[in-house]
């Protein structure tokens, strides 16, 4: 079905179910309980999960298949965001033209950068892409302020033309991005006892696009083209000797992954119409590299998991403060409570970077293949026990 093997179809189906049920899966704890802090089922974070998932899937098409490590992919994301916001400012608040434009602009931009950077390989290629991205960041932050908004970012304003749908909404505010009248920020809530689940239009819109991107990625991985790309990774010289020119293939992979990044950027702007230059900073490029490695390079699902983990830590761990900690340990005697708080405190709130660093190190030391390998190990463990319970995270199956 859909031109996929059974295994891939299963994987796609699992991802489909996971994304569609994300509002449930990510909100396991009842509202108001001490553990509610760990719920991630609110629109903004769910949107981020899938959007960065798209970004990482695209990045993996380049890095996972060809082995070319681009250190400047955030530039395409940034360019995508800027084009989308400009589309909102000039044309219409409908997200479709904005996203189409952002993919196209990112594509063109990546043809340009890819064509030049791919003349080199290995770390020389990485540094070339890094240099382009850093130049884009520096210029967007300073000299190009009229186009990019500089430090404050490119925002919508009341007096933007918006040719198709007029400047202000009926209430005198800036209109919000939507899909033919369906506003991206609209949510429906479902209450089940103490649990509250949020279903957000923007999230489902992004999730559908993510599924399409994921499907496309599977097709690319399994196609003769994908095979070519793997050949480039394993031995480019041999490919040359067989009379094949690897360059068009790598460039195509680079542009495809650039367009994925542009798509992610466009979606980010569609969910939240502001584009800041720091989206293009080298740390942002580094982040997608880390997501991919953390999840598992060259696997289909790995990058999505890596993206999820990093965004989860950034948004959840950083929000725990000492007040909340005291709440958790309140059942303990005073002295022990303070002691526990003192021990945990450096790792949460303003210390979330520390936790992130430690997680990076632990994962790479103990799970050389990233999170996917962790999943495999668990799966193997269960298989050995011959349990038939269906609680194995089957999603962690690598694609190769």
């Amino acid at each position: 079905m859909l031109g996929l093997s059974k295994k891939d179809l299963n994987l796609l189906f699992i991802v489909f179910v996971l994304t569609m049920c994300a509002p449930f899966i990510l909100n396991p704890f009842p509202e108001g309980s001490a553990m509610a802090q760990f719920n991630a089922g609110y629109p903004d974070l769910m949107q981020r999960f899938v959007i960065f998932g798209i970004f990482a899937i695209g990045f993996n098409i380049l890095f996972g298949l060809t082995g070319y490590l681009s250190f400047g992919h955030a530039a395409f994301l940034g360019v995508g965001s800027y084009s989308a916001v400009w589309m909102f400012k000039l044309l219409s608040m409908n997200v479709i033209p904005a996203i189409v434009l952002s993919v196209m602009v990112a594509g063109l931009f990546s043809v340009l950068i890819g064509y030049i950077s791919l003349r080199r390989s290995g770390i020389y290629f990485s540094i070339l892409t890094l240099a382009f991205a850093q130049m884009s960041f520096a210029l967007a932050y300073s000299v190009l302020t009229p186009v990019t908004g500089g430090e404050t970012g490119l925002q919508l304003a009341l007096n933007d033309p918006r040719i198709l749908d007029g400047a202000a909404s009926s209430a005198g505010n800036i209109p919000v991005p939507g899909l033919f009248g369906l506003e991206m920020r609209d949510s429906t809530f479902l209450r089940l006892g103490d649990w509250v689940f949020t279903f957000n239009v923007g999230y489902y819109f992004s999730a559908v696009i993510m599924l399409l991107s994921f499907y496309l990625a599977i097709r690319i991985f399994r196609s003769p083209f994908g095979m070519m790309l793997r050949a480039i990774k394993s031995n480019q010289q041999r490919m040359n000797y067989t009379g094949l020119n690897p360059k068009p293939y790598t460039l195509a992979a680079f542009v495809i992954s650039g367009m994925y990044a542009g798509l992610a950027g466009g979606l980010m702007a569609a969910m939240d119409p502001l584009a800041g230059a720091e989206r293009m900073f080298w740390t942002a490029s580094g982040e997608v590299v880390l997501m991919t490695i953390l999840g598992g390079v060259g696997t289909l699902i790995g990058p999505v998991l890596g993206a999820g983990l990093i965004k989860y830590m950034e948004n959840i761990i950083s929000k725990i403060n000492s007040e909340i900690l005291h709440g958790w340990f309140a059942f303990m005697p005073d002295g022990i409570e303070d002691f526990m708080v003192a021990i945990v405190y450096p790792f949460i709130g303003k210390g979330w970077h520390l936790t992130l660093g430690i997680v990076f190190m632990l994962v790479v030391i103990f799970l050389p293949g990233g999170l996917v390998e962790g999943g495999q190990r668990i799966a193997r463990m269960f298989r050995r026990k011959k349990t038939t319970q269906d609680n194995t995270p089957g999603t962690t199956e690598p694609a190769e």
Binding site: G67, R119, Y124, I127, V143, G351, H353, G357, V363
Partner: protein, 343 residues
């Protein structure tokens, strides 16, 4: 003319910091084949060695001064460093004043120790792993190191001045026959340049003229063969890692009076130093040094008012622009070897 001389001086000075960091980075690349994203953190730790020593020197006991009030109106507590008690106030002040140069002695063993621990405890296990894994683990380590420093020292920069004797600046212009105030340059930056030159010279001499260095160089060229000859190359590589850490650390120590150190100074230098190393050519020590100075000087020229007026924003991108041009005209950077990190 005077403006150009001044920017060359600036460039040499900036270049010495770049060159020192790139040198250590290349030592690790060249010998161990490891992409070390924690190298910037080593530079930062070096700087905090200086901060720590000056803290140690000013460890104090408090006495309550009834004649003065603090901001809440309570009697003021005055800290008196122990060194005052031991050596008298005058000598004590001199010792505290010279904290940064003294830190060199303090930093060398500390940095070598940190380097050896890092190599034995962590990096060693990653020699055979893909570069991607090395990047992830060293980046994680860099974050951890900098967060630990932040935990103890805060996020604000900490002023760490040079000794009194080196504050102020030197009028080069008068020496070269220009008017006064045309070419002035701070003493400490001249010291930094000289210091960098000495360190770079020492590293090269060590590799060139000692048996140890010879073996390491042989190991860089062909690790397997050296191993087959019955030489324990691993042990030597550990020492090289310690050495690279010490070079980065010393660069950090001496840098503190130029810019007050803060916990993320390593990250600020990290990307730049990678660019320097790659422009110099992977695995080439002279290349790293050359590229460091070249980029330093070009960066300085690009920040001249006349140049910015001509090409707005050029000061923001010059390093990257130069890197692109060099990499496109010379496939392996200035002096890179074939086949190193090319796949």
């Amino acid at each position: 003319m005077d403006a150009i001389i001044l920017q060359i001086l600036n460039g040499l000075d900036k270049g010495s910091a770049y060159a020192l960091i790139a040198l250590g980075l290349t030592l690790i690349f060249g010998t161990l084949g490891v992409v070390n994203f924690a190298h910037g953190a080593l530079f930062m730790i070096g700087a905090f060695c200086a901060v720590t020593l000056s803290r140690i020197l000013t460890i104090s006991h408090t006495i309550v001064d009834e004649t003065q009030k603090d901001f809440l109106g309570n009697p003021l507590k005055v800290d008196v460093p122990y060194v005052y008690d031991w050596f008298g106030e005058a000598t004590g002040n001199v010792i505290i004043d010279w904290a940064v140069p003294l830190s060199i002695l303090f930093a060398i063993p500390v940095m070598i120790l940190i380097g050896v621990i890092m190599e034995r405890g962590l990096i060693k296990h990653f020699y055979k792993r893909p570069h991607a894994d090395q990047i992830l683990v060293t980046f994680g380590l860099a974050i951890v190191l900098q967060e630990v420093i932040k935990y103890f020292y805060g996020a604000n920069p900490i002023p760490t001045p040079a000794p009194d004797a080196f504050r102020g600046s030197f009028d080069f212009g008068l020496m070269l026959g220009f008017d006064a105030n045309q070419i002035i340059y701070p003493y400490w930056r001249l010291v930094y340049f000289a210091f960098a030159a000495v360190i770079i010279g020492a590293v090269f001499a060590f590799l060139q003229f000692t048996t140890f260095g010879m073996v390491v160089r042989a190991g860089m060229a062909d690790r397997e063969t050296v191993g087959l000859l019955g030489i324990n190359i691993d042990k030597r590589f550990t020492i090289m890692f310690g050495l690279a850490a010490a070079v980065a650390g010393l660069a950090g120590v001496m840098y503190t009076p130029i810019n007050s150190p803060n916990y993320h100074m390593g990250m600020d230098f990290l990307v730049l130093s990678f660019v320097v190393v790659v422009v110099g050519g992977m695995g080439s020590l002279p290349g790293a040094v050359l590229a460091g100075f070249l980029l330093g000087i070009l960066e300085s020229f690009a920040s001249m008012g006349a140049v910015i007026d001509l090409l707005p924003g050029i000061n923001q991108i010059i390093i990257y622009l130069v890197a692109i041009i060099i990499l496109l005209t010379r496939p392996r950077g200035l002096m890179g070897r074939k086949g190193v990190m090319e796949d």
